[in-house]
């Protein structure tokens, strides 16, 4: 059984101002599965629905974001949870941080500026487990932090005394105190320089290798996915357009959008001018008909303008939604 099964998930931002209602279809028909012991990367341009998808998966969505339809089902081994129907209190007590923890985007500022780091650890541990022995808690927290390669002294510091990379690592350390089954990291390396990025990614990899759990890594940076992820899903305009093991995505992409993304990556020694993809991501309040990529696709056919391509599964768990790829190949 997969850890997480998502079936035809649709989540829209519905707003109504002065009687004019508007819906932004940020996630529009996503189906995917996450397995135990893997790092899954979600890639795509800004505003393609990555963070919205995460919010639904982690159960942290707030109005005006609403789930229209679909299923988000977890199997934690000991128990199963349907994220879209679970009672919020039960979610808080049994799932949050114990099974799923979520390192938000911009986690440089997720630490309370007026309290020491240790206080935040204390809050989280007290909420989900209780602190019967303060000394033991302190020792365990120091041990946890040390194992992640952070000096235990950081616990007695305030967030403003830490560098951006340190803060990001503290945020990840906070998210992993209970060794959750799923760690969701949204743009954990954005705004960090490459050297610090490497440290943060290595930390995520080490945590995953140690606890054999699942990491869902969201970033627009394909280089990060190439280094870290086991499988990669490419999102475009609220849908997953291609998904495959990392090797296959980078060596043999099938969707024209994936191809463009990968071709735009610089490689050492390559002096050719990179072709840019014309246009901008579509407005999700009024997405294009048919295949949502067709206005920007150099290979678009008549069929692409009217008919939405179905997801086709090729060999080696390679899935792609494009009219150029036919059932025959599968």
């Amino acid at each position: 059984m997969p850890l997480l099964q998502i079936e035809d998930l649709r989540a829209y931002y519905r707003t109504e101002v002065y009687g004019i209602s508007r819906s932004v279809r940020a996630v529009d028909g996503v189906s995917m599965e996450l397995y135990n012991n893997e790092i899954y990367g979600i890639a795509g341009e800004s505003s393609c629905g990555k963070t919205t998808l995460i919010k639904v998966i982690s159960g942290t969505l707030k109005p005006p974001l609403r789930v229209e339809s679909g299923r988000v089902h977890y199997d934690f081994g000991a128990f199963e949870v349907d994220m879209l129907t679970i009672d919020p209190e039960e979610l808080r007590q049994t799932v949050r941080w114990k099974e799923i923890s979520y390192v938000m985007q911009g986690s440089m500022s997720v630490l309370n500026p007026v309290r020491k780091i240790i206080r935040t650890f204390e809050d989280i541990v007290r909420t989900h487990q209780g602190i019967p022995n303060k000394k033991l808690f302190l020792e365990q927290t120091q041990e946890h932090v040390r194992r992640l390669g952070l000096p235990p002294d950081v616990l007695n510091l305030y967030p403003h005394q830490l560098s951006g990379g340190m803060r990001q690592r503290v945020a990840i350390a906070l998210a992993t105190v209970f060794h959750p089954s799923l760690i969701i990291a949204d743009e954990p390396t954005t705004a960090l320089d490459v050297v610090v990025q490497r440290g943060v990614l290595q930390m995520l990899k080490d945590i995953q290798a140690e606890s054999q759990n699942t990491v869902l890594l969201v970033t627009h940076d394909l280089a990060v996915h190439a280094n870290v992820a086991d499988r990669v899903g490419i999102m475009y305009a609220g849908r997953i357009v291609e998904e495959a093991p990392t090797q296959i995505i980078f060596n043999a992409p099938r969707h024209p959008y994936t191809e463009h993304l990968i071709r735009s990556l610089p490689t050492i020694g390559d002096k050719s001018v990179k072709a840019s993809l014309g246009g901008a991501p579509p407005n999700l309040a009024n997405p294009p008909s048919g295949c949502r990529f067709h206005p920007r696709c150099p290979l678009a056919m008549d069929r692409c303008r009217t008919e939405t391509p179905e997801m086709i599964t090729l060999s080696h768990h390679h899935r792609v939604a494009c009219h150029l790829v036919t059932e025959a190949e599968a």
Partner: protein, 336 residues
């Protein structure tokens, strides 16, 4: 720690003395720019009263008055003498209630004002801030919405109208509170239970009026501060981590939102030293506001100078204390 004292505390103390020095100097200069001569005014008042005074006596009196007001010698000598007397705690005699020293008038008025205003500021600060934070965190709660509407409605009412309405309702139509004063006229001021109870009964209506207006201000301020803090990443993170709501409210939202409010509180406390003019006039309360009002009406400029100096020192001292304790609330100031 050493760095903190050198870079933070020492400059603040220096600033404090600089502000007081400038304040005292301005208090010295401004009355001397006035075209009226207090000595001549005093003398002519005496002569107008019709009594016969010999020219020698007038000259002697002029000299005595000039000496007493500190107006003898050059401006520079006067300034030094002014400081000399000030450091000895001598603010000169009051002109309107001659020869009572100004310091004595201030000492009589100050406790009344301080007791009443301090109580009202602290009550309204605590209540207003807690309600404000609750209002923006529990937006949908009906009780909170009612408090919100009431404070929005009370806030724009001018204070004197509110005070007069309260007097009319609770002292005239429903006479449960006395009309004016801090105690009934003719009562001896003493430390007895019955006297203290009388004072409390007299102060309830002014206190209520101040608290009502005060809460509205703090409430609205805190509500908007809180509504900004609520969308901060660290609050969203705490929510995602499943922390209990009351923990998020107290440790994540209020701890951060109250920082500007602490500054506001200190400034309000500083302003106590000049009294609450309108409140004291409306309720006939014998504090600094009434004293100021009388001093201005009677052209009693030694008293005005005394009140001004007390306010300057008061505000500066409170700001200094705030600077000292603020690092306890905001570590970003403490460790730089």
């Amino acid at each position: 720690m050493r760095k903190f004292v050198l870079n933070y505390l020492i400059p603040r103390i220096g600033q404090y003395f600089l502000v007081i020095f400038l304040g005292v100097t301005l208090t010295f200069i401004i009355p001397r720019l006035s075209p009226s001569d207090p000595v001549e005014r005093q003398v002519s008042q005496l002569m107008m009263s019709g009594s016969h005074v010999s020219p020698e006596a007038i000259i002697a009196m002029r000299e005595a008055l000039t000496e007493m007001y500190g107006l003898s010698g050059s401006l520079w000598e006067q300034y030094l003498a002014f400081w000399g007397r000030l450091l000895k705690g001598d603010l000169g005699p009051s002109l309107s209630s001659f020869p009572t020293p100004v310091t004595q008038l201030l000492a009589t008025a100050m406790p009344w004002t301080f007791g009443l205003l301090m109580t009202s500021i602290i009550i309204s600060w605590i209540v207003g801030n807690i309600l404000g934070a609750l209002a923006s965190y529990y937006e949908k709660n009906v009780a909170i919405q009612i408090v919100d509407v009431v404070s929005q409605a009370v806030r724009p009412i001018p204070y004197y109208i509110m005070a007069l309405v309260l007097l009319a309702v609770f002292a005239y139509w429903i006479p449960i509170f006395p009309f004016s004063g801090a105690y009934p006229p003719g009562t001896r001021v003493e430390f007895s239970l019955s006297f203290i109870l009388t004072v409390i009964r007299h102060s309830l209506l002014p206190l209520f009026s101040l608290v009502l207006i005060g809460i509205g201000g703090w409430f609205i301020g805190m509500k908007s501060l809180t509504s900004n803090i609520i969308s901060e990443d660290y609050v969203v993170y705490a929510e995602n981590a499943g922390l209990p709501k009351n923990r998020i409210l107290s440790q994540y939202i209020i701890r951060n939102a109250m920082l500007p409010q602490i500054t506001g509180l200190a400034l309000q406390i500083g302003l106590i030293f000049s009294g609450a003019l309108i409140m004291e006039v409306v309720f006939g309360y014998p504090g600094m506001g009434t004293l100021t009002f009388q001093a201005v009406m009677a052209n009693d400029y030694t008293l005005i100078m005394g009140i001004t100096l007390l306010s300057i020192v008061g505000v500066a001292t409170i700001v200094l204390i705030l600077d000292f304790i603020y690092p306890l609330f905001d570590p970003r100031v403490r460790i730089q």
